[in-house]
């Protein structure tokens, strides 16, 4: 898929957090049904500074500080969405969504289906996830695959400021519950972002780098690490194609398939626990299709270790794939075939 950022005027450098804030502001300006709520999103500006000054621009009626009640906040998003609003809920750390599973999985995901298509739940849940901040096992998880397993939900994982804005605006427009897994380490990363509102379609992956020798399918921050690894691989005459998944549900398998058909080698890299993770789904889809005959070597998955995220920074880094792991895995894959 061609990159759409060059076609839109007014491109500036924004951080990932600023891009999200701009999306929220533009959505609230355009649509009185949109509101943001969650723990410390008001004057505090959000635990990661994402909501920033929004409370001063939109007031406490639309940027709502809440008590620490994740289950009922998720349910409140369901109820508001059912009755004509477009709520955006910030779960302070993605890990805390475990307290809200009932409302997201049993209610939000199923209401439309259970009620025979008579209702819809256009809600957005923003979840800062991922490791690398020294926050240890209960503040560092990557739980997106859990939700990608649930029919009725949509799950996106922006890797760039551009996609953080475009996917969030698309999520707010979407008539279904959408979970946006942001990455805490990405909030300060910068990139070009058009000033006008725009949407990145949910369910479309992005070819972040073209290459012919190996496909690296990555999600969230792993896209950045895969791109860095690809630069190093290029210095050794290995041309890696990097696909930024962007959406987990629905997943853009067509873009993956076209790339694998071309490169005939596949590495899948994601931060969530490797076992039973999104790499298994992608690998299985390749294995179930005629693409399996195109492969020159077995598929490689790189994912989180079978361990909670540890506190010690050396251990923490060792728990999830790093640039060197991706470089080494892709190099070895090309070397052996």
């Amino acid at each position: 898929m061609p990159d759409d950022r060059s076609t839109i005027a007014g491109v500036r450098e924004l951080s990932y957090a600023e891009a999200i804030r701009e999306a929220l502001a533009q959505a609230m300006e355009a649509d009185p049904r949109v509101f943001l709520f969650g723990e410390d999103v008001g004057v505090y500006g959000g635990a990661f500074g994402v909501s920033g000054d929004l409370v001063h621009r939109f007031g406490t009626e639309r940027v709502i500080d809440t008590p620490i009640s994740e289950l009922s906040l998720a349910g409140a998003a369901v109820g508001a969405a059912l009755t004509g609003m477009r709520p955006v809920l910030e779960i302070q750390f993605a890990d805390f969504v475990t307290l809200a599973m009932e409302q997201i999985v049993n209610q939000a995901a199923k209401i439309r289906f259970m009620f025979g298509g008579k209702a819809s739940v256009p809600m957005v849940v923003r979840l800062p996830g991922g490791s690398g901040t020294g926050a240890a096992a209960q503040h560092s998880q990557s739980l997106e695959a859990w939700f990608a397993h649930v029919p009725g939900l949509k799950v996106v994982q922006p890797a760039t400021p551009h996609d953080a804005k475009g996917l969030l605006l698309a999520a707010i427009d979407d008539p279904n519950p959408v979970l946006v897994f942001e990455h805490k380490l990405l909030y300060k990363t910068k990139g070009p972002v058009p000033s006008e509102p725009y949407r990145v379609p949910i369910g479309s992956a992005r070819v972040a780098r073209e290459g012919s020798d190996c496909t690296i399918v990555a999600s969230s921050i792993m896209t950045l690490r895969a791109l860095a690894a690809a630069e190093r691989l290029a210095q050794e005459d290995v041309q890696a194609e990097v696909i930024d998944l962007r959406s987990l549900r629905p997943i853009d398998f067509a873009t993956i398939a076209a790339s694998v058909q071309k490169t005939r080698r596949l590495v899948i890299v994601y931060e969530g626990v490797k076992t039973m993770g999104i790499g298994a789904e992608i690998a299985a889809r390749v294995a179930e299709s005629e693409l399996v005959h195109a492969l020159l070597a077995p598929i490689v998955r790189l994912g989180g270790a079978d361990s909670p995220i540890p506190y010690n920074p050396v251990l923490e880094k060792a728990t999830v794939p790093q640039e060197q792991d991706i470089f080494a895995a892709a190099h070895a894959l090309v070397d052996r075939s």
């Binding site: 008590p67 906040l73 349910g75 109820g79 279904n176």
Partner: protein
């Protein structure tokens, strides 16, 4: 509370009854009969193998469903429970489409996708029954927020059982509704048992309504088998919510004469207890009071019952003769748009 503690039917017309005009009473009695007959037919259909799965009957609890919805306008909202047939009918659902849903037919409210536990009728403000204990309470918070943000004068009545009062969602939701003064009536149908767990063993306070004080809202205990009393308590709570006074917790002490679900063998309660509550049957009690007060004669009341029974018989024919859903359309309503 044992039936003996509930006050006897007065010989003269009491204020709670005097507040209800003839048309309202006729409608209330008609709907109580509709609910009773509906559930008897559903139960018989199950016994004859015409309906599969399970169902939760509210026979004996009709006064709380009908009384609580009497003060509601057609565009007010309700949220219901797994034992929700009465709430749906009381709010104006079509028993024919409900029964068709039980039969798993395409003409059912949920096109056969939801069954007994998931009936919603958005057009009558019924935002759905719920298979998760306390699942509706957080959603009510969002409905209340939505009403407030859209500057509507609507009210949301959320039904739940005594079992739900021990879920975390109950406490979170009452707190949120109270701090934000949302237009919600928390309507507890305390039928004495959470499946088999006696409420006396499940709570350290005698009444669910006692917990209202922790959330600075009125907590009212009412005889749930007494239609005029329920209507009176509900009217006050609904008015308070509509006038910006915030939420109330109304506890209807009632009793389910049938088991929890089809698997119940009544091992946790005695026949004597069931018989004692049968003597407090809310329909017969209302009829007897109306007769005593000269509001209706026996013949008029018999004809109300006959009319309701006839409507359910027609509903049964509709359900039986309706087409089954097409398996090819299985996933039609998983996503909107």
């Amino acid at each position: 509370m044992s039936p003996d503690e509930l006050h006897a039917t007065p010989a003269v017309e009491r204020p709670e009854l005097a507040a209800l005009d003839a048309a309202t009473l006729r409608g209330a009695l008609y709907r109580m009969h509709l609910i009773r007959k509906f559930e008897e037919v559903a139960e018989a259909s199950y016994a004859r193998g015409l309906v599969h799965g399970t169902m939760h009957l509210s026979i004996g609890q009709e006064a709380s469903a009908v009384g609580a919805t009497l003060p509601l306008a057609s565009d007010d909202y309700i949220l219901s429970t797994h034992r929700g047939h009465g709430h749906c009918i009381a709010k104006g659902a079509d028993p024919a489409r409900m029964l068709a849903e039980f039969f798993g037919k395409e003409t059912g409210y949920c096109h056969g996708r939801g069954g007994s536990m998931h009936i919603a009728d958005i057009e009558t403000g019924n935002l759905g029954a719920n298979g998760i204990v306390a699942g509706g309470l957080p959603i009510a918070v969002g409905v209340g927020m939505s009403i407030r943000m859209q500057k509507q004068s609507r009210v949301c009545v959320v039904f739940f059982g005594d079992g739900a009062a021990n879920e975390g969602a109950f406490h979170e939701s009452l707190n949120l509704a109270s701090i934000w003064k949302l237009p919600i009536v928390f309507l507890c149908e305390n039928n004495k048992y959470g499946m088999s767990m006696d409420v006396a063993h499940a709570m350290a306070v005698p009444n669910v309504a006692d917990r209202a004080s922790a959330y600075a809202m009125p907590g009212i205990v009412v005889d749930g088998n007494d239609l005029p009393a329920v209507a009176s308590a509900a009217r006050e709570a609904v008015s308070r919510a509509r006038d910006g006074g915030g939420p109330s917790l109304v506890e209807c002490k009632t009793y389910r004469l049938r088991g929890h679900s089809k698997s119940d063998r009544n091992l946790y309660r005695t026949k004597e207890e069931i018989e004692a509550w049968r003597a407090r049957d809310p329909i017969r009690r209302l009829e007897s009071e109306l007769l005593d007060c000269g509001r209706f004669d026996a013949q008029a009341m018999k004809s109300i019952e006959r009319e309701a029974n006839a409507e359910i018989e027609r509903a049964l024919e509709f359900a039986k003769s309706s087409p089954a859903p097409d398996p090819a359309a299985l996933t039609r309503d998983v996503y909107a748009g």
